[in-house]
Subunit: 461 residues, 3 copies
Amino acid sequence: MTNSATNLRLKLPMACIILEVIIIILFGALVQYDDETDAKLWHKEIANGSSNYDNDFYYRYPSFQDVHVMIFIGFGFLMTFLQRYGFSSVGFNFLIAAFALQWATLMQGFVHGMHGGKIHVGIESMINADFCTGSVLISFGAVLGKTSPVQLLVMSVIEVTLFAVNEFIVLSVLGAKDAGGSMTIHTFGAYFGLMVARVLYRPNLDKSKHKNCSVYHSDLFAMIGTIYLWMFWPSFNSAVTAHGDDQHRTAMNTYYSLAACTLATYGLSAVVAHDGKLDMVHIQNAALAGGVAVGTAGEMMLTPFGSMIVGFLAGTISVLGFKFLSPILEQKLKIQDTCGVHNLHGMPGVLGAIVGAVTAALATKDVYGDGMADVFPDIQSGDVEASFQGIRQAISLAVTLGIALLGGLITGFILKLPIYGAPPDTICFEDGIYWELPGEEGSHEELTTVRTPDEAEKLNA
Amino acid sequence: MTNSATNLRLKLPMACIILEVIIIILFGALVQYDDETDAKLWHKEIANGSSNYDNDFYYRYPSFQDVHVMIFIGFGFLMTFLQRYGFSSVGFNFLIAAFALQWATLMQGFVHGMHGGKIHVGIESMINADFCTGSVLISFGAVLGKTSPVQLLVMSVIEVTLFAVNEFIVLSVLGAKDAGGSMTIHTFGAYFGLMVARVLYRPNLDKSKHKNCSVYHSDLFAMIGTIYLWMFWPSFNSAVTAHGDDQHRTAMNTYYSLAACTLATYGLSAVVAHDGKLDMVHIQNAALAGGVAVGTAGEMMLTPFGSMIVGFLAGTISVLGFKFLSPILEQKLKIQDTCGVHNLHGMPGVLGAIVGAVTAALATKDVYGDGMADVFPDIQSGDVEASFQGIRQAISLAVTLGIALLGGLITGFILKLPIYGAPPDTICFEDGIYWELPGEEGSHEELTTVRTPDEAEKLNA
Amino acid sequence: MTNSATNLRLKLPMACIILEVIIIILFGALVQYDDETDAKLWHKEIANGSSNYDNDFYYRYPSFQDVHVMIFIGFGFLMTFLQRYGFSSVGFNFLIAAFALQWATLMQGFVHGMHGGKIHVGIESMINADFCTGSVLISFGAVLGKTSPVQLLVMSVIEVTLFAVNEFIVLSVLGAKDAGGSMTIHTFGAYFGLMVARVLYRPNLDKSKHKNCSVYHSDLFAMIGTIYLWMFWPSFNSAVTAHGDDQHRTAMNTYYSLAACTLATYGLSAVVAHDGKLDMVHIQNAALAGGVAVGTAGEMMLTPFGSMIVGFLAGTISVLGFKFLSPILEQKLKIQDTCGVHNLHGMPGVLGAIVGAVTAALATKDVYGDGMADVFPDIQSGDVEASFQGIRQAISLAVTLGIALLGGLITGFILKLPIYGAPPDTICFEDGIYWELPGEEGSHEELTTVRTPDEAEKLNA
């Protein structure tokens, strides 16, 4: 099932070890504990009257761990729906996430975290690194099953770098707000990945068509991913918002958006699916769109009412996208989007950006009170009007789309070079190409061998 | 595998969308941020000297997320033990939980959370909504496999409403304590569900008997649910107790009760099961009874010693219930209790209520000190004697049983109307009736096809 | 599949119930709430000016729950990789963990937690009990599939006791630091278990060889365990360190060590495995070695740079151990190490101890500032030089190895008595010996029956 082209004995070790050595050297040269992780500096703060409870660790670590679960279990298992790609789904997700969080620490540090020539790290940099990693994993969803781990590592190197640049432009230059990343994470990751998938278009992918689908148990494994993403999305959106009401409100808005989204998803799925039955693809994906769509506005005074409307719309859009838009993307635009990230992250991300722009434009001192300083510091300080904050948000969406599409285009061509051990069209969506599979060399037939009656007959002829 | 009667193309979307639209309208009219989630109000508190750390979010959000995991992963996967009902177990659990938590926010708000005509929401209302949802999911366990999602939504509408009423009577009118819900959640959910199952009795259910059992992998998926419920039960029982020693003590009492319960469960299972072997049904369920049984007394000064005795008893009762009582319930009382909720939630819930009444009656100022105000404010204030608090607890159990049984009776008859697309007796416990199953339309035989030697022979004849 | 020798109808209930009754009696006689879980005592602290937030519950409960997940889900599912031993892996893990955490509370209390003749319990004792349990589960990994649950309970009784003794010597007598337990948990558990496995050597174990391997889905279940262990290891190492910078820094160092370890693992796995493919055994295990290896030094000022180097080394050593050392251990030293705990916990634990000794020896007031008091109180107080702290750490490793090996030796001989219902060589690694399996008595062939073409042919002859 392998040949020399896809044999990774040299390629993968070289990629992993060279990248890790570079990272370690850069960490040695540039990375320092921040004031809250350094023994000496924190005890200076204590001496100046801080209490240990003021350490940001206690405000953010539970959220961090929830985000961490979303990155490693959520994304990893969500993609195990493919019948013969579970090892790769969880395993490559694990690999590129472990790489990307380190690389993101460096890139985000370079772009907006330098202090006296050093990158300071602590719980907030850890969350931000996980966020950037999430964006890469969204792109991974678009190319799932058609790429080698070496390609994925190369993609991560570029995508993380561009993510940090885009994030800097959106948050620091344009002064937009995007705590849960509707723009910076979801829109960016989705359109970057879709463009990569476009460039890597395989006209003969239907040779692997029979493997590009689920089986009963693989769908159950995928539901582990779905449910964890759903449950912890409130933590994701609130992980880096301001302390107090902001974290509290963001988590709650997200919770309501997701609940409404789920009802919309079930309703719409039964409408559009075959025979009035529910389709697991919708449940696994569209029910999450509500979290994406309040990624920008969740920290604002969106209200539970507003959050539910947004969630309801997001679920609706997402199911309809799976049913009607995905086939068009594939046939007309030649975008083979394995996990349907356009429906889960792309459109809901754009919706979230728009909702954020509108909500920001409507912000008033009367509603936010002194809390304005946390959510819209520039409005509080009088630097901008609310309406202009809305415009900044809208421009940020455009910039994000531009950088994502252009970045994905370039990355796609780089990944097209025939040096990374990509799978041939006939054995995409197949673990056996990169993994030693159990039972292959033993005397036992494998558990999961899918056999048609015809094949069974031949065996017994 | 479907016919027009069970086709949900219109019924399920109508139910989902109408319910969600009603909820959104009611949220728009009635629901507001509370003081801790509202930007303006919280910053007034800050201006008055509060610190961000005083925001209840930091006291309760980690517990909330643990409870959330129990509701969506714990209950969802616990019910995947059925061989061909995994999609429905996780999927319908997801649907009705997402609905019930919204509806519960409204119903609990109406009954005991109105402030100037508005329902105030924050982390505590989120936890309480999840608790109410838990009760519905317990009832779901009794009717698992024999009901359509539309029936389940209708059941949720009624059960959530009655739950809120009962909770109000028990906690506010009668002044009982029930932080972890031995009465309000477990006893209520179990007896409500059992009564529904009684009314929906199917004399010919044995036509689906071959599907009403587990296979090897489905039992492993179910263990995911069991273990998560077991681990996070300390968070469940302590999620809404008073800050400080109360949360701390409740979590610890629950931890010890569950540990002792687990040893009792393994011991008893080997005694009663076939050939001295362990029975997965016991391990998956009875090991959790210790959490149920300290749901009322866990916040009291039950001591680790007392908690262990209660846990040990709960595990024992539960295993014996599965072995000896469930068959009687089914044959004599015509209650087909799919998940055995009577053994996991019913009897241990009643045990927990009794333990709570006794522990309350024994409370003394000498033991509780000033902590009496948190646990038994009415005893502290001198309004009642400890013995009378015990009586209140006992009356609360009786009220809960009454409302649950009567509510379940009425609900059962409503659900019996032949308009909800319930499955026929021959295809209960079968996902295919409501879900598009992978592989059904493709050229591949499905992975999980269970084939007897006879069938295999025919295929190859 | 059973005979009277392995029938546990009397043995397991007796073991479970006698042990639990002893525990309950001892808890009744000896265990008390500590100052932070007792209603009266905590409210005295409140009266003296403490705030509820000072209750250690809020500093440590989220970490506790993460550790709890590692113990019950992490270890439990990691061991489900065996094709026919999933019930036992999760189920016996559950049983012995539930027992060990109770027994550990007593043993650790006797040795270093007595206050006026009573053992005081609270969140820190709960974490320490879970830690001790982790050590037992590591040993369980070495003997997985070859032992009865009664043997495992007996092993737990002894191992927990010796763990507490060793922990007392290392931490209290020798004054070493080992917050994440590189020595006390991992080294101890691994070498104890390996010695037990040595004594229980089965020369004819190859009779069960065909069951001592994974199948596709069992490897996916195992990945649930791996990923949870990986994600929550930062919480494990930081769970009992000092508040503030110490918890924060320890979590972060562990996070970086694991990330670097993962890259090393993937790189090395592709180098050494067959055909340049990745080997699930490495991914499931070696990627975790980075957490083990910073168990001692993680709380020190190891820096992210140092943590990554340690993690990289740990992953490398671990993969090479699986490839080259495990076969030698089995063939030459007659140690049948089912899960390869020597590679995941043994060697990385020793590495962690050495790293801890070196890092301690290099500690300077210039780097730690006033934080020295938290990490190295004896250096801060001037009682010892940093270099001597390093020597203490090294001696602690030697002591740990000695107690583990000797304890394992004695325990092995005790477990060799033919009274515990151990499985015969022919049916090791098989759930059916101790569990009622689904489908065995029904009319359906079991899902997971592994059938060779030959067997299929015979069936159809």
